[in-house]
Structures are given as C-alpha cells and as structure tokens.
Subunit: 216 residues, 2 copies
C-alpha cells in the first residue's frame, strides 16, 4: 500500500478511491459518526485532498448516494432483457437487485438506511432512484397484465399499488438478507419471486384471493 499511496495517479482514480472509502465508512458508521479523518486514512490520502476534491462532508455523502444509486439502477437495468416474458424479466431483475445489494452491502446501507435517516437533500437523491425503479416495475406488471389479457380487471391504481408493494418488499428483504448469515442473493430473490409471482400470477389469471363472505 505504501508504494501506491505516494504514486501520482489521475484525479478520477483518486476520487473513486475516496468514494470507495467514504461509502464503506458512511455505510458502517452512519453519516453523523463517520469521520473525514478515517475516510482519508482508508483512501490513503490526506484530509485536505478529500476536501479539495469533494468540497465538504455533505457533498461527499451526496456523491456517494449518487454513485451507489446509479450503480444499483444500472445493475438492474443490464440484468433485464425487455424481449423476454414478464415473469422472466422480474426474476432476472430481482436476481440482479439482490446480487448487487449483497455484493455492495455498504452501498445498500448508504442508500436504504443512511441516506433516509439524515433528511434533505439526501432523501431527495434516493427518492429519484426509487421512483425510477417503481416505474420500471409498474411497466412490467402492466405488460404482464396485457399478456394475460386481464387489463380491464387490473385498474391503473391497482398496478401502481402492486409495484409499490413489490419494491417495498425488495427493500426490506435486501436489508434482512444482508443482516442474516447464510441467506444468499439467489435465495432472497427466489423468496420474493415466490411471494410476488405466484401471487401476481394468480391475479393475472383472474384468480384473486377472495375475502371471507358476510364480513362487515
């Protein structure tokens, strides 16, 4: 490491090293407790250099959120092929999502927990990413409903609700999978696919769960 530290390297490379270190420290310690000293040390640079490149702790945290949000949406996007059937797209998307959050637990902690627990402007950064993912899932469910020729029965707000439910379930499950030893990304994806698709699948085929009769 000593030789690497003193070597001259392009600004972009140094900046990525700083962001790598920052995501790790922010993800593990939280925004408030994270120290710029520790981030600089882990990145193998001086603290003034971190401030020169990233300006402030707030800007550094915002840069972390943006990088991790872009990496996660990119992972899901490239994991899915639009020409495949909707259940295959959902399965591929879920596997890509859980594989990425398992490989980048600190990044996921920054997005799911840290960014949401320290108010604006950080909350806003995560909100845009989430809206993009909900829109993707909404399209997928609408396509599946069309494929199953059930569109008149699945109202627009029902599709929106199902997409919100699925995204909320995935967020919750990713945090749980990362905190539970022995749960693989594939298992987490399969759990949610079972939960979602067997349910959505029945719904698409016009076989909803039926409420008990005679209730208030």
């Amino acid at each position: 490491m000593g030789a690497v530290k003193t070597k001259r390297m392009p600004r972009a490379v140094r900046e990525q090293q700083m962001l790598d270190a920052a995501v790790r420290i922010f993800g593990r310690r939280g925004y408030m407790a994270a120290s710029m000293d520790e981030i600089a040390e882990l990145a193998g640079v001086s603290k003034p250099l971190v401030y020169l490149y990233l300006n402030s702790k707030e800007d550094l945290f915002t840069a972390c959120i943006r990088r991790e949000a872009a990496a996660l949406t990119e992972a899901v996007r490239t994991g899915v092929r639009a020409d495949l059937p909707a259940d295959r797209q959902l399965w591929d998307g879920l596997r890509a999502f859980f594989a990425h959050t398992a490989e980048h637990p600190d990044g996921w902690s920054v997005l799911h927990l840290q960014a949401r627990t320290h108010g604006e402007p950080f909350v806003g950064e995560v909100r845009s990413m989430r809206e993009e993912i909900v829109a993707f899932v909404t399209r997928l469910i609408a396509v599946a409903a069309r494929e199953a020729h059930q569109d008149p029965h699945l109202a627009e707000h029902e599709v929106g609700g199902l997409a919100e439910a699925l995204v909320g379930a995935a967020e919750s499950l990713a945090a749980w999978a990362n905190a539970t030893p022995g749960v693989t990304a594939r298992q987490a994806a399969a759990t949610l696919m079972n939960f979602a698709w067997a349910g959505l699948g029945n719904l698409m085929r016009g076989r909803p769960w039926v409420p008990p009769t005679g209730e208030a």
Copy 2:
C-alpha cells in the same frame, strides 16, 4: 377555542393535546422544520408549558413516536383474533393496519418517514415496533405453514424472509395509499392480500414459482 384555552384541565389531558398538535406538525413539516411555537399554538397552550411538560423538542418527538407506535400495534393486535384461520388473521391484520394508517396519516408519517430520517434515538424507537410486527407476521406464516402441513418445506429463514417482505410491502403501500387520492384502506389491504396470500397460499400448498430451466 378561547374558552377552552383558559379552562383548567388535568395534566394528562393537556399532555395529549400537546402530543396531538406535535404529531400533526412533525408529520407534516418534518422534525427539523417543526417549530415549538407552532406546536404550542395549535395545542392552545404557551410554549413554556410545552417545555415544562415534555422537556425538549427531542423528548417531545420521542413521546410522539412512542404514542403512535403503541397505537398502531394496538390497532393491529385488537383487529386480529388468534382462533381464526391464518389467512383470515392476515386479512384482518392488514385491514386494521391500513385503516389505522389512513385515519392517522400524520402519525404514520412520523413513524415511517420522520422518525427514520433523523437518526438515533428515534430510529431505535421505530425499530422495536417493527420487530414486534415482523415477529407477529412470522408466527402467522409459520402457523399457516403448519396448517398446510408443509412445515418441512418452509425453512425457518424462508419464513423470516417472507415476513420481512410482507412488512416491507405494507409499509411501502401505506405511504403510497396515503399519498394517492381515491385509494381506500380496504383497497390497499386487498391489493396486498392478493399479492401476498395468493402467493403465500400457493407456496403453502407446495406450488412455488419455478425458475426457468437451463439458466446459469
């Protein structure tokens, strides 16, 4: 209101009025932007009286989280009868949950959004409530699996994962239902019940979703 303001009333009643006002302001403005002046004015009391009773803005916010968390878990608990079948318990629990979050949108905003966006100790208060609800849903799914005689096939961590997915879906859907005009509590409960039970129901009967063959 003028006559009420000057009337003498028991401390417990005054305190509940302050908490009512605080939940409304915290839920709508957020913790940082909420002003103690506005809370006191809405409660119809002087600001020094709020500090005398609730000590500080932080303590007032903590008291709001505790009261709203207790009310929500109580609503779900009393909505469910342990002697009914598991799918009926889940349906009753979901209706109680969505009815309560729809009737108390500011309280739900405090629990789901505000308490989680301002770090410890607030995050910890919400975590205990969430753990209690996850434990309840986990028991329900385990009972349903036993009823369906499928317990050997539904491993303990699978049940835990399903409970996490269901709770995450409910949280996400409640926030969406409150923000979407025309979506009733019953509709939100039915959407999630369809999503969850038709899926869980298939799973219980040993009919999981099957991944495509021949994939990597």
